[in-house]
Structures are given as structure tokens and as C-alpha cells.
Symmetry: C2
Subunit: 469 residues, 2 copies
């Protein structure tokens, strides 16, 4: 018997559906049992016949009942044993990690920004504008170009040619969800008979993890005061690529000089190897025009140029790009021919438009002014703390190193800073060979601290580090 | 000698920089050559000393010159042979494919939508609102939660629990760039000692290609009029997963009945195998409430539930999600611990907000009304074309099949339709064993055609197919 509650928020057809379903699952309605006809049931229950039909349609669609010509609906066979018990979510032995949230007042990270750095009004304005345009052109609901929107690729190239000397055409550009996705793609495109990648030591640990995740072997090449040490490049023909940050070495902050750039290119050509040029923040050069990229002086299609909007706009944008030599573009189009693009078309248009109007340039200039002031405030403050600490920066990007006198230990320095509410970072994470990491150097980012907070922040560090100053 | 053009748009410091750089690269300024002091040069040229300093700073930063204490700047050694020739982009032998653009008036695709389906005003409104919120909370410039925003995951789950019966908590949800990225992740998470995946035959070809791209072997399981034929599941312990579209089989459009669902779960449990439940469009059910998912009746954590916003919102949004059993979430967190999320945080908030306010439900209801009308218009029109063609649909989603009498050939049908300006699609692409594909069936999407266009579209098809009607 079916009971209907006319005062319930649950629609009547759902009440019927659920009760019949329950009866079937309980085994009370057995296989082959024919349900009451909808006309009769509707009459009995004093409800519309449509309501019953809706309930039966749902039961049929889910396979609980089937239609027998001339007879009506009959129950299918459902093993009682299969009846689902409600899961007790609490009982599951899940090992979820809780994020710790210490009382950090100043987080000297380089991977999140203060929110004033995001061009909120521009983003809003161009979102409206581009939405109208895409709608007008009937493109907002279209599956998009695989490599990313031509409009963005063209405007990006105009920008990169001017600011980074990049030489290529838009068919060589692929828009991605950021550096990590670019590297994931590359792991599948690089010649797979070679499984070794060279990395700067120290270098960008997240890139390292992606290569390892994809089954590559890694060898380190030491970085000295001029960046990647070319003399230490091995004579080894099993290397498929060198990953490098020539314009602003991560994390040491040095710039690879022009002669080393040519030597690196020559070495790559001799060893038939690719160079992954990660140019993550080199447009953010406070004192001089950014340095032309390796890609711009590459004559033999050795360089894969990698960029991101995480530094210039926001890490929450999730957008980056890679510029491939023609041979790898062909491989990409072949390997990923059935894949769709990964980046929302609207966001691509918004950034493309910012570049087209010159607003992106203005924004980057503004950003650089802000970071210059932050860096100089730290420099000045640390000078005042005496000559036992040395700030290392080439005036680019969003981080610097702080070198203490020998005998200091970064774990102690970090712990003491944390006790004063300041989060600074270990450089250990950037070293493959942890024993090589200088214990007296720490990593500090400029992204998340406001200029007016710096005096208090440094005061806290002064207290924290008093015994080493 | 340096020549300055004061009327040029190129800044003076850049003119100096470029000419000195040219001289160094030409070998006219040799290794060790000391450049004129900035004071003297500025005086000679009658320009500001700062301009010269800027040029020299840039040259130094790029490694062309170096500072000699007490002397000034000297030229480094750059091998002349390394001089870069301008690349001649035109000469490159690139094999770029041109997209053909035939005179298609009606494209019966299911992968792009008419733009009226996109909730443009809602999207704008919530973009503004969420931008304000994220800015206020200082989160627009933050690196985000790896699995996707908790706010979206919670609202999504509330929605999926109600509409699809999904049972899990938000820690099991991962927001991705769409189905393809979900599958890419899964290829790296599934137990890798087993390299075989079962797929429905016919089935979703793009999923097939991703599995193949990731080195999996594929075996087909036939689909009959009730979906995946459980009887044909092999007794094979090397299978790591079954990929299936139970609620709306792609492309046949049938629904897997409840008893087969239980049998499939039982089989998966017996063979220690995962089920990849691709629930791509089952919220779009015009006539009855969507069918509860396999995930909702799974007792043994066998089901991985996959969804997308490409159907309900737009393929250009590039967002989807997967719900993993706890064991695989642990594997995900381990494997991808150093990876960032791939989806823009703002977009996640916009969709989360649509769900929270109930606007997403309203939007889906509106969508379903539109698709219902489109489907019914086609049904009615094809009935009028006589009984030699049969439209196959279970009243879900955005496509249907059209079956012709035996002896008809889909290539001919497609070609003739194209000649009349209508693009319809082959079902051959969905078959692994092409010989098994019924030659008399074609695939038609409802996404890109407006209701008022359907009469003209069907008229054209009537002309195109006159000899088979």
C-alpha cells in the first residue's frame, strides 16, 4: 500500500517512486509481480494519472520495472543480497592530513601574492567586454582551439617578441594550465628513448618532482655565481633535456651571462638535446629591461620556452604557455589530437585583451615598482642589522636569499623566526644532494608582504635572530 | 661611435645598448676592451648620464660586459661564430594542417552549443560577486587548494547527492579541467601492475584514446539494448578498470537497468577492479528524474564517479570533477602532492555560487526544456519522413541516433547531407572493431541547432536522403 503525504515537500510522484522501489528492494514485490495500472492507482489515490506515470517512468528508466505489452509494468529480479547499506562515512579509516595553521603573521612566500597586486578592475572590465564579444560571435559555448585561442597566442607573441626577444609564430604556442601542465605535456613529447634530464643544482624542486613522477632520471649540474656551470655539463648522449632558469636562476637569483648562453646552446646542439627554458618571472626586472631569452638566440630549434601568468597576474589564474620548436609541435598535434584545450576560453580572451590594449604592460610596470620598493625596504632594513647577513638578489622577481655567517643553521633560523610569527623558508628543498646545501642560507619571498608591514616584520626577525646578528 | 636618433621611438638607452651589443657580437669590440666611462660618454653625446648607465646595466645584466673595479666596464669574450642569424620563418618546413571549412549551415554536433544555452547574465553577475568576495578575503592572489576549492566541492556534493544519489564527502572530490584531465589523472592512479581497461563497444572514443596514449591495453565489451552486456564481462584478473556510461550509454543512448548495475558491481568486486562511471550528461533527463548513479549503490569503493560542466554549462568552461574512493584519494594526494590545482579559482566560485543559490538547477531545467523541444521537433519531423528511418533516444542529453533500413551506408548518408549543408556524424568512430559498426546508423547532436532551424534542416535532409526514404 502506498501512503501519500500531501503536506510534504517531496513531490507525490517521488513518494510513489520511493515506496515502490523500497518494496522491490525489500523483496516484498517479487519478480514478475505486475504493478497496479496507472489509471486505477490514480483513481484510488485521488491523484492525477500523470503523477503515477511519472513515478513508473522513473522506475522503468532505472530498471526496477519493465513494460509487459498489454499487461502493464512488472517487477524485475533484484537480488536482495545486493541491497545497499547506508555507508557510515564516519567509520571509514581515512588518513586525511590536517593542514597546520601556525600563528604566522607574515608569510614570506613567493607563491601567493597580496591581493592588491591583482588588477581586479581590469579583470572585471575585460570579462564583461570579452563575454559580450564571445557571445556575439557565438563562441562562448564552443569547443575551443586545442592549442589555445589564436587571439591570445597572437597577442602573447607580440608581447614576448618585444619584451623577451622570442622568435616564433603563433602555431608554435600552446596555452596550458601553468608550468606544471606544460612540463607534464613535455614529459610525453620529449624523445622517449632517452630518459635522463639535467637540472640545475640547486633548482626548482616542483619541476624535479614532475620529471620523477614521469619516470625520468635526473642528474644535477652545479650552479655557481653565474648560473648553470657549463663546464660541468656531462659528455653523455642519454640526456633528453636540460631544465634551466637562465634569466633568474631559481633559487640563487643569478643571471646566466651571454657567453654561457651560447655555450649551452652549442652543447645542446652537439648532444642533440633540448633546453627547457623556464622564464617564470624575468619580465619582472626592476632595474633594466628583461634579458633576451635563450629562445631568441637559438638557431637550431633546441629551446622550449616556458612561461606562466602566476607571477604577473595571480597563481589562482592557472594559466601558462609553452613555445615549442616545429618538430615538437608536430609531435604535440599528433599525440594530443583528440584532446581539448584545458584553459577557459573567456580567461584567455581577458588576458589577450589586456595585452592588446597595453594594460598588461602597465600592470607589470606597476608590479615591478611595488616589488622594487619591497626589495629595497628589506635591503635597507637588513643593512641596518649589521654585516653578518647578506641579501642576495639580481633585482628580478619575487624572492631573495639571505646569507648568514658560517656556522648558522637554517632550521634554527626558521624555527626562531616562526616563534616571532614570521615564516621564512629553507633552501634545502631546492637541493637534490641535501648535503651540498649551504646551511646558512634561507629563502624569502616578497609576494605576500606589504611595504608597510616590512619594518615590523624585520623587527621580529631581529628579535628572532639576535644571537646570530 | 654611437649614433643617437632623438626623433626615434626607441628610447636612447636602448639605442646605445643595441649599438654596443652589435659591436661586441661583430667582434669590433674585443675581449677586455674597456667601454667609455658613463660620465664622459654622456657629456660627449649630450645626454643624461643615467641613460648611459641604463644601457650599460642592461649589457652587464646580459653578460656582454663586466665591471672591472676602478676601471669601468670591459667586454667579455663572445665567439663570433655563435652569432645568431635571423631566422627565416617562411623557410621552415612546417607541416601545418589547414582546417577545412565546408559550407555547413547546420552542424549536428553534440560538442558545441548554441550560445543562448550559456547563462551569460548569471555568469557575469556571479563573476562580479565572487571577485569581490575573493578580493575581500585576500584569496584572489593565493595559490589554491590542490583538489579544488572546498566551497565548490561542498556545493557540488550537495547537488550531486540530491540529483545523482552520490555518497561521499568533500575530501573525495577533485576538481579538474574536464573529463580528459580526470582520465589522465586516473591513468596514473590505477594499480599499475594491471594494464588492461574494458570499454563499452561501441563507446566514447576520446576516452579510448587517452587510455591508449597512457599505455593501457583495451578490450571491448558489447553493448546491447540494455547497455553494457554483463554476460560478456571476461574472467580475467589483469583488468584494472571498466569504463562505462551507465545512465546514458554513449553513443547508443540506452540506460543500464538496476539488476545489471548490481551485477556489474559484483563482478568488479570479485575481480578487484575499478569502475569508471562517466556520468557526463545524465542530469539532462527530460522526462524523469535522473537515475541514481552506480556510485550511489556501490558498497565496496569500486566506483570512480566522473562528471563535467561541458554539457550543463559550456565546453569552453573546461571544468569537470571526479569522485574517488578513499584509497585512491590517498594515492592522488601522494602522487600529486607537489602539484597545484588546474582550474581558475574564480570560475570555481562562480559555479559553486550558482549551485548554492539554486540557479544551477534552474539553468539545467531550462536547458532540459530546450533540448526536449529540439528532440521532439526532430522526432516529429522524422516520423513525417516515413517509417524507413527510426530515431533512437532515451530522452537524455544532447544527441540521438538515426537508424536507416538495412543496406543504407552511413558514408553516403553523411556525404549527401553535407551536400545540402548539414553535417551529421558517423558512428564508426565509436567502434574499436569497425566491422561491427552497423553501417545504417548515424549520430546526430542537438547542441548546436536552434528549434526554429529544425524544419529547414530536416527539409534539407529529406532532399539529401530522398532515395533512402
Amino acid at each position: 500500500m502506498i501512503y501519500l503525504d500531501h503536506s510534504s515537500k517531496i513531490p507525490l510522484y517521488m513518494q510513489i517512486y520511493e515506496q515502490v522501489r523500497e518494496e522491490i528492494l525489500n523483496g516484498n514485490l517479487e519478480e514478475g509481480h505486475v504493478l497496479s495500472g496507472s489509471r486505477g492507482l490514480a483513481k484510488t489515490m485521488q491523484i492525477s494519472r500523470n503523477t503515477v506515470n511519472n513515478a513508473y517512468a522513473q522506475l522503468e528508466a532505472e530498471g526496477y520495472i519493465y513494460s509487459k505489452t498489454g499487461i502493464g509494468y512488472a517487477v524485475v529480479k533484484v537480488s536482495k543480497l545486493n541491497r545497499k547499506n547506508e555507508k557510515n562515512e564516519e567509520n571509514r579509516a581515512l588518513s586525511w592530513k590536517k593542514e597546520k595553521s601556525p600563528a604566522v603573521k607574515y608569510d614570506l612566500t613567493n607563491s601567493s601574492h597580496t591581493s592588491d597586486l591583482f588588477p581586479q578592475n581590469l579583470w572585471k572590465k575585460y570579462t564583461m567586454e570579452c563575454m559580450e564579444r564571445l557571445h556575439r560571435e557565438s563562441r562562448i559555448s564552443e569547443l575551443q582551439e586545442k592549442q589555445g585561442e589564436l587571439y591570445l597566442r597572437q597577442n602573447l607573441l607580440t608581447y614576448l617578441k618585444r619584451i623577451r626577444g622570442v622568435k616564433c609564430d603563433e602555431r608554435q604556442v600552446i596555452i596550458t594550465c601553468g608550468l606544471q601542465q606544460s612540463l607534464e605535456y613535455l614529459c610525453n613529447l620529449l624523445p622517449n628513448e632517452r630518459k635522463k634530464i639535467l637540472m640545475e643544482e640547486p633548482g626548482y624542486h616542483k619541476a624535479l618532482h614532475i620529471f620523477l613522477n614521469n619516470g625520468f632520471k635526473i642528474a644535477g649540474v652545479p650552479v655557481d655565481q653565474n648560473g648553470l656551470n657549463i663546464r660541468e655539463l656531462p659528455e653523455d648522449n642519454s640526456i633528453c633535456a636540460v631544465y634551466t632558469t637562465p634569466s633568474h636562476q631559481f633559487p640563487t637569483g643569478v643571471t646566466l651571462p651571454i657567453n654561457r648562453r651560447y655555450e649551452l646552446l652549442k652543447w645542446a646542439d652537439m648532444h642533440d638535446t633540448y633546453i627547457l627554458e623556464d622564464d617564470f618571472d624575468s619580465e619582472q626586472r626592476y632595474y633594466a629591461k628583461p634579458i633576451p631569452s635563450l629562445q631568441s638566440i637559438d638557431q637550431h630549434d633546441r629551446v622550449i620556452y616556458l612561461g606562466t601568468f602566476s607571477k604577473g597576474l595571480s597563481p589562482s589564474i592557472r594559466m601558462g604557455y609553452m613555445i615549442l620548436p616545429p618538430k615538437l609541435i608536430d609531435a604535440y598535434l599528433k599525440k594530443y589530437k583528440d584532446y581539448n584545450a584545458n584553459v577557459p576560453v573567456l580567461n584567455q580572451y581577458v588576458i589577450g585583451r589586456m595585452m592588446e590594449t597595453g594594460q598588461y604592460d602597465r600592470h607589470i610596470r606597476r608590479l615591478n615598482q611595488i616589488f622594487k620598493k619591497r626589495l629595497e625596504a628589506f635591503q635597507q632594513s637588513f643593512i641596518e642589522l649589521g654585516n653578518h647577513i647578506k641579501l642576495i638578489s639580481n633585482g628580478t622577481g619575487q624572492y631573495f636569499l639571505l646569507e648568514f655567517r658560517e656556522g648558522c643553521n637554517q632550521n634554527e633560523l626558521i624555527q626562531k623566526a616562526l616563534e616571532q610569527g614570521v615564516q621564512v623558508y629553507s633552501t634545502m628543498q631546492f637541493w637534490q644532494d641535501k648535503a651540498e646545501c649551504p646551511p646558512n642560507t634561507i629563502f624569502m619571498g616578497l609576494s605576500r608582504i606589504k611595504i608597510e608591514e616590512i619594518p615590523d616584520c624585520v623587527n621580529r626577525l631581529k628579535t628572532a635572530w639576535s644571537e646570530w646578528l
